[in-house]
């Protein structure tokens, strides 16, 4: 006895496939014109207003940093035992946000996910700007930041070498490698679009400027041949790199013996948290940008839906981390470990922050199980902002609550951020926004060359599908 293979009706296909990754089949010229419009059009008033605000915050950032340099680290709320506070919280928060870009670009490329195409440029740019913010913090926390180069192994007159057994030095290597590779990956991805900008530009100045950055790209078959494999290999390398960076950040804490820091789940749990916050930040930025620039045809409901699902999945992984940590804190029978989880965090002076974390990271994302919630753009935007807040509080909980009450009650102390801490935090948000606005203005935020390729692939697929259906038809009749 045999069974017949079935064909899918158009209606069923619609139910199973969800929204398209590309609305309609715009031709190359139209894609070029639409996607490059934000670069060519006149500066918008809204852009200028936002630029002014973020410029102001950037000014605040650098003033606060200057004040810190003049006054010393004492300008911050840090104390003993809370020697790490806003500096490291913000560092981990920003570096976490900086994980989604390369993840979207690299891992989704390896997984052959078509929805990657129109959001990767955007996410990668976000990565770079977030990593820049992250890099600021350890630098200004150095005490004597003008000696930052002591961190690198160079033959110096001091005749010493850095201590490679310290996770803080691993961090230096991990974060600088991550920034370099992300920048290269982003730039290599930009080349074809920079060439298209050069060739489509109307003014001589723009042609020269984009021409320099396009490096002489002619879309030659020889270029493409090396380019495609180079891009794929970079993705293959970037994938474990992304995981390694937040793993090493987690080692900063986990190699210690401090209750609340020393636990083996930290590496994967930090990575999941990073992706969680990174996707949240991409959504926070993308939802308004796609509306303003009218990119709904290339960044479709499908993209938002998939990103919401990744956020839900990584949020569940973070919750898994909280759960195993709490369970093992009890299971271990270690009094200090249990004290951190059941007393300091859940009921201590910072309990409201802990419960904010649980609400934003564990409870709020559960709403994304419902399709209606994922389809509601405003709701999704609010969820993404709450997740950003939640992930910031998570780092606060990990760092400050673990430090402020350690083994000896006599050395307990409270931590309160000063106005300098707040200025630096809000300043980095402004600086991040500033860089992002510049990106939106001068670089195409959706990769035109990749969307062109995507359209060809979709056409090819539809063609192959129709062809296969035709082949199957006679067999169905003979039965």
């Amino acid at each position: 006895m045999s069974v017949e293979m079935r064909e899918l009706t158009a209606l069923e296909r619609g139910t199973l496939e969800g929204a398209p990754v590309l609305v309609g089949r715009p031709d190359d010229r139209k894609l070029n014109d639409d996607l490059f419009l934000p670069v060519w059009e006149k500066t918008r008033r809204g852009w200028l207003a936002l630029f002014g605000i973020t410029l102001g915050l950037t000014g605040l950032l650098f003033s606060a940093i200057a004040y810190t340099f003049a006054k010393g680290i004492g300008a911050w709320g840090n104390n003993i035992p809370v020697a790490w506070a806003y500096d490291i919280i913000n560092f981990v928060w920003w570096i976490g946000i900086g994980h989604a870009g390369t993840l979207i670009s690299a891992i989704l490329l390896l997984f052959q996910q078509k929805w990657r195409t129109s959001i990767n440029r955007f996410a990668e740019a976000m990565t770079l700007f977030a990593v820049i913010q992250a890099l600021l913090f350890p630098m200004i926390h150095l005490g004597r930041p003008w000696f930052f180069f002591w961190l690198f192994p160079y033959p110096s007159t001091l005749a010493t070498w850095p201590n490679f057994k310290s996770p803080l030095l691993w961090d230096v290597f991990a974060v600088s490698t991550y920034f370099t590779v992300s920048l290269l990956f982003w730039y290599v991805g930009l080349l074809p679009d920079l060439a298209a900008l050069r060739d489509a530009s109307k003014s001589k100045a723009a042609r020269i400027a984009y021409g320099i950055f396009a490096l002489g790209w002619r879309g030659s078959a020889r270029h493409w041949r090396h380019y495609r494999i180079a891009y794929l290999l970079l993705a293959g390398l970037a994938t474990p790199l992304v995981l390694s960076v937040h793993t090493i950040v987690s080692f900063d804490f986990a190699v210690s013996q401090l209750p609340g820091w020393h636990t083996t789940i930290f590496p994967p749990y930090f990575v999941a948290g990073a992706i969680f916050s990174g996707f949240a930040m991409v959504l926070t930025l993308m939802i308004p940008a796609r509306k303003v620039f009218g990119f709904e045809g290339v960044i479709t409901q499908r993209h938002l839906d998939n990103m919401a699902k990744v956020m839900l999945a990584t949020g569940l992984m973070v919750s898994y981390g909280y759960l195993t940590e709490t369970f093992i804190a009890w299971y271990s029978g270690d009094k200090f470990e249990s004290f951190v989880f059941f007393n300091t965090r859940a009921r201590g002076p910072y309990a409201p922050i802990y419960w904010t974390m649980i609400t934003c990271n564990v409870l709020v994302p559960q709403i994304l199980w419902w399709r209606k919630a994922r389809e509601n753009t405003i709701l999704l935007w609010i969820v993404s902002i709450l997740v950003n807040v939640g992930m910031w509080t998570e780092r606060f909980v990990i760092i400050v609550t673990s430090l402020h009450r350690d083994f000896l009650p006599s050395s307990w102390a409270m931590y309160r951020p000063t106005w300098v801490d707040w200025s630096i935090l809000s300043g980095t948000i402004g600086f991040f926004g500033l860089l992002f606005l510049l990106f939106l203005r001068f670089v195409p935020s959706v990769s035109a060359s990749e969307v062109k390729e995507l359209r060809r692939e979709l056409e090819h697929e539809a063609h192959a599908g129709a062809h296969a259906a035709k082949r199957a038809a006679p067999a169905a009749r003979v039965r």
């Binding site: 006895m1 045999s2 069974v3 017949e4 293979m5 079935r6 064909e7 899918l8 209606l11 069923e12 296909r13 139910t15 199973l16 052959q112 474990p240 995981l243 793993t247 080692f251 986990a254 190699v255 210690s256 013996q257 020393h262 636990t263 083996t264 789940i265 930290f266 590496p267 994967p268 569940l316 898994y320 981390g321 759960l323 195993t324 940590e325 093992i328 299971y331 271990s332 029978g333 270690d334 199980w369 692939e457 192959a464 599908g465 296969a468 199957a472 067999a475 039965r479």
Partner: protein, 395 residues
């Protein structure tokens, strides 16, 4: 295109059943001479094979949740493997009966000092009735989910339509957190609680990583076992092999990542309450086994699996799958045996029941799965994406 129902495999199932009876019988025989040692061998074999069945379930659920299409051609095999969780529930009975010989916490009065304090502290969680109840719960969940997924998929063979696909996807996504938690706590119960010194939050992921990898190895061997018409192999192309190989590569790396993270963090913190677990494996005759794992569970397979040509060659990939199954057993053995035997300094001392138990439990699972494959289409013919899966050709 027509696909015949799979009616073969009869002789394979019977042969596997004979091997299973022989293996389990010999293990039982060994139990008359050395009950403790035979039981230890059996428990290791049980944890090894049950993990693979649950690993296969998680693979299918994750792929359903992600709406993966390429794997539809091999999905029937992947759906059938986890049905063996019903068999593993039965096979758990000897562990339950002999738990007094396996787990130190069953009777804390034997213990002294710190170990006794730990066993008494954990009493609300680690006690015989609750342990049995939990394991029953894990299996209840795994059996329910695997049967629902398999049932909907086979129903779709005749009914077709989109609704059954939607059901599978929803259950795949929705039950995944619970199935994952069940596996984590199974790892805590079956493996971690063997050594009261060990409390590692990553431990559930460690069991998952190895089992997930081994599940891909079993899947590769299962689809390559027969070229009979109507079974996936006859319909697959090199791109499917390539993807399966890539998943093995990814999880070889993931396993190494998890194993290294756990090792580094415990080694570097060097806390007296948690480092004994690694001391028992590094300052003893077990050290070469740990080094063996680093080399043959990670470095060698990683570089071998990087090769594109190898991943696209079913024979070579099957060889690597066998390799992975062997090193994964060594891994499970290395995790459990030093803790089970309490005498790591006396050396590895393998026992012949290790082999009979491993083969016996494995053959029973093979017989069960082959038997469950029979009488149905060997590929999910009603799946709307089967046709697309057959054309799988990533650009």
């Amino acid at each position: 295109m027509k696909v015949t129902r799979f009616e073969g495999g009869r002789s394979t199932a019977i042969r596997a059943l004979v091997v299973a009876v022989a293996g389990l019988g010999l293990t039982l025989l060994g139990g008359f001479f050395d009950p403790q040692r035979a039981l230890q061998a059996y428990h290791v074999a049980f944890v090894y094979w049950a993990g693979i069945a649950v690993g296969a379930l998680i693979v299918n659920m994750a792929f359903q949740a992600a709406k993966a299409r390429w794997y539809v051609v091999v999905r029937r095999v992947l759906e059938t493997i986890p049905l063996s969780s019903a068999l593993f529930l039965v096979l758990f009975v000897p562990v339950l009966l002999g738990m007094g010989h396996l787990f130190p916490w069953v009777d804390p009065s034997h213990l002294e000092g710190e170990l006794r304090r730990l066993a008494e502290h954990r009493r609300p969680y680690l006690n015989a009735p609750f342990f049995a109840l939990r394991t029953a719960g894990y299996f209840g969940l795994w059996i329910a989910v695997s049967h629902l997924l398999h049932g909907w998929s086979t129903r779709q063979d005749t009914e077709g339509g989109a609704a059954l696909t939607l059901k599978q996807r929803r259950l795949g996504a929705g039950a995944l957190p619970f199935v994952g938690l069940a596996m984590t706590f199974a790892a805590f119960d079956w493996q971690m609680s063997l050594d009261l010194h060990l409390f590692s939050t990553i431990f559930g992921l460690y069991y998952f990583a190895g089992s997930f990898l081994a599940a891909f190895a079993v899947l590769i061997l299962a689809v390559n076992a027969s070229r009979a018409e109507g079974l996936p192999r006859a319909l697959m192309n090199a791109n499917h092999d390539h993807s399966l190989g890539k998943w093995m590569l990814a999880f070889v790396s993931f396993w190494a990542y998890i194993a290294f993270s756990q090792y580094l963090l415990m080694w570097i913190a060097n806390l007296p309450e948690e480092v004994p677990w690694y001391l028992a494996r590094s300052k003893t005759a077990w050290l070469p086994v740990g080094i063996f794992l680093a080399v043959f569970h990670f470095i060698v397979p990683f570089f071998v699996l990087l090769s594109r040509g190898l991943k696209r060659n079913p024979r070579a990939l099957s060889f690597m799958a066998v390799w992975i199954l062997i090193v994964h057993y060594v891994d499970v053995y290395w995790v459990m045996m030093p803790a089970l035997r309490h005498d790591p300094e006396h050396g590895i001392a393998p026992h012949w029941t290790d082999l009979t138990a491993l083969v016996g439990v494995g053959a029973a699972a093979v017989a069960f799965v082959v038997w469950r494959m029979r009488g149905r289409a060997g590929v999910p013919v009603g799946d709307p994406f089967l046709e697309e899966s057959l054309r799988y050709e990533p650009s």
